[in-house]
């Protein structure tokens, strides 16, 4: 991935954050993301993010589970090794529905968790840069990505004006990497403080 320049600012109140997001976006700055310790209702909409497609993936996993269950039990009990259970038909659908249901839930649950981890790049040993450790504790951290056209001093002033505190310019790795934080300072040939 690449190391990019960001301007970050801390917010302490939702009531300040929301108008600030609106102002910053309207001014044409590119908001990289806002990091918060807990989910904030409506922030995704304010940031202009589109709804996730995770649930469509979940539906597909679910019907895969149903199909797996019915085809395997059907093959095993009605084709390959027919067993007479109390005179019931070999293809006894009602008895299989609980299992079909369970596999539907299992497939969609496990599949969605894995997909979620994939989408968020969450896995053991996967490391990503943090802008500010306080975004996991008590403040909302907004990161504005600097492009070629961004006037940094102006942007810093703008963010301060919008109510941000502790505004800084930071160079951060945008992607993820395997390994440890301290080794990455070498890997990119540029000093990046481990946070």
């Amino acid at each position: 991935m690449a190391i990019k320049k960001f301007i970050t600012g801390n917010f302490y109140e939702e009531a300040v954050l929301f108008p600030a997001v609106k102002k910053v976006r309207r001014a044409g700055y590119k908001v990289h993301d806002v990091y918060t310790p807990f989910p904030i209702h409506g922030l995704d909409k304010e940031l202009g993010m589109k709804d996730t497609d995770l649930h469509i993936a979940g539906f597909i996993y679910g019907i895969t589970g149903t199909t797996t269950a019915i085809s395997f039990i059907g093959w095993a009990l009605a084709r390959d090794w027919q067993i007479n259970f109390g005179g019931k038909p070999f293809f006894s659908l009602p008895a299989w529905i609980p299992i079909m249901f369970e596999l539907t839930v299992l497939f969609s649950a496990v599949g969605m968790v894995l997909t979620f981890c994939w989408l968020c790049q969450l896995a053991p040993f996967v490391k990503k840069d943090h802008f500010n450790p306080r975004s996991t504790d008590d403040t909302f951290v907004m990161a504005i990505e600097c492009t070629d056209k961004t006037n940094e001093a102006e942007a810093i002033a703008f963010l301060k004006e919008a109510g941000a505190q502790d505004v800084q310019i930071q160079s951060r790795e945008t992607g993820w990497w395997f390994g440890r934080y301290d080794r990455e300072t070498v890997r990119f040939g540029k000093k990046v403080a481990a946070v």
Partner: protein, 412 residues
């Protein structure tokens, strides 16, 4: 279009005309059914007439009562979002006394009248030769049936009226003027809702569908039958609320309601459709698996006999349709789709009640369902009329309710 929260519903002329037309259709259907099949002598025919009245009155009574249950359950859970349209729920619940009286008359007539072809256990001569019914005579006796039925309707009506009065009092603002008073109001409201839930648990969730519907097949029993009936009517009740919310919203009322509230109503319909299927299936599968003749006798005419088309069709309408249509988020926020699903679900659960009642009453041939539909339309007319009248009496928004802020900022 006004967006004031003090606004009342003014029924358009067409609204009441439709309500009266539906009631007329219901009366005509009932009369023609009575003329063609009623009369003296033929026991089976007379049973067919009364069974139709029984099915429709019990179904629609339980549906409007489900609105009552929704109101009390959300109050008990200290929910806030439903306050945005709580007057709609109250208005639907105010149909309980009206339809309750109709149902009461029909049920008591069935119990004390000479209609043994529906409730076999009311025939003393028949019971004398029937050891199974003798064992059940404590529960299936005229006295117990009448007591429970009257108590049920009276308590539902009374507690519903109480809840409504409490809610209306907030409009004057006096009972919620200070924090202390607001706390007291919420407490009183919660206590009243809790009382209703206890009554509801002892009636709809346990005894009443056993007595009213299940005792038609007096030999057969299923302990989860009442739960299953509750799920059925609760889905239909939520659909009715959703229909009214959409209707009022389309006419420019209910300024506090937005798509978030509709989304949550849709979630209720979606979730309880699955809950209904779960109960239906649990009842069906255990009987199918155990394969004991005295239990399978119930499903024989329904799943495999002449009623199988209705039986499987209602499963598609009540399960497959809601789960597929309502699965996505956008469909629950779309007025048209919500309307279609709500109508479908109300009809589907009406069919469910049809197949609960009729296979025992008319085992040899499926009765002409159009008559029953006509009577059903009559009941819908009553619901429309009473609900519209109640809505037009008071402000459509409970604007002084302590939880109204939660309803405004509600976000799913």
């Amino acid at each position: 279009m006004s967006t004031s929260t003090t606004e009342k519903f003014i029924p358009a002329k067409r609204y009441n005309t439709i309500a009266f037309a539906l009631m007329v259709v219901g009366v005509i259907a009932a009369i023609s059914l009575f003329v063609t099949t009623g009369g003296e002598g033929n026991h089976d025919n007379r049973a067919r007439f009364w069974a139709s009245l029984l099915q429709n009155s019990v179904y629609f009574l339980l549906v409007v009562n489900a609105a009552m249950f929704f109101m009390c359950a959300t109050t008990l859970a200290w929910g806030g979002w439903q306050i945005a349209f709580t007057r709609v729920t109250e208005a639907i619940a105010s149909c309980v006394p009206v339809i309750g009286v109709i149902a009461l008359v029909i049920l008591l007539a069935l119990c004390f009248g000479d209609h043994h072809t529906i409730y076999h256990w009311t025939d003393a001569e028949h019971v004398a030769h029937d050891p199974v019914l003798q064992h059940k005579s404590g529960f299936l006796s005229k006295g117990f049936f009448a007591t429970v039925t009257i108590l049920t309707v009276v308590l539902w009506s009374f507690l519903g009226w109480k809840m409504r009065q409490m809610s209306l009092k907030t409009d004057e603002g006096e009972v919620v003027s200070t924090l202390e008073k607001r706390k007291k109001f919420v407490w009183n409201n919660t206590v009243m809702a809790a009382l209703y839930i206890v009554v509801f648990a002892l009636t709809v969730m346990s005894s009443v569908p056993w007595l009213w519907i299940m005792s038609i097949d007096a030999h057969w029993y299923s302990t989860m039958f009442s739960w299953y009936n509750f799920a059925s009517t609760f889905v239909a009740g939520m659909s009715l609320i959703a229909l009214y919310v959409v209707f009022l919203k389309n006419n420019g009322y209910l300024p506090l309601v937005n798509k978030e509230h509709l989304h949550d109503l849709g979630k209720f319909i979606f979730a309880f459709s699955i809950f209904w299927t779960y109960l239906w299936f649990a009842q069906f599968m255990l009987i199918w698996y155990a394969n004991i003749p005295e239990e399978t006798v119930y499903f024989k005419p329904r799943a495999e006999g002449i009623y199988s088309a209705i039986f499987w069709m209602m499963l598609i309408i009540n399960f497959v349709a809601p789960i597929l249509i309502f699965m996505s988020r956008d469909s629950k926020r779309n007025y048209t789709i919500v309307t279609i699903v709500a109508v479908l679900v109300i009809f589907g659960h009406w069919l469910d009640f049809f197949q609960m009642v009729f296979p025992a009453v008319s085992p040899t041939k499926v009765p002409m369902i159009l008559f029953d539909m006509g009577i059903g339309l009559g009941f819908i007319g009553i619901i429309m009329f009473v609900t519209g009248k109640t809505l037009s009496k008071h402000a459509l928004t409970a604007r002084n309710h302590p939880f109204v802020k939660e309803a405004v900022i509600h976000h799913t």
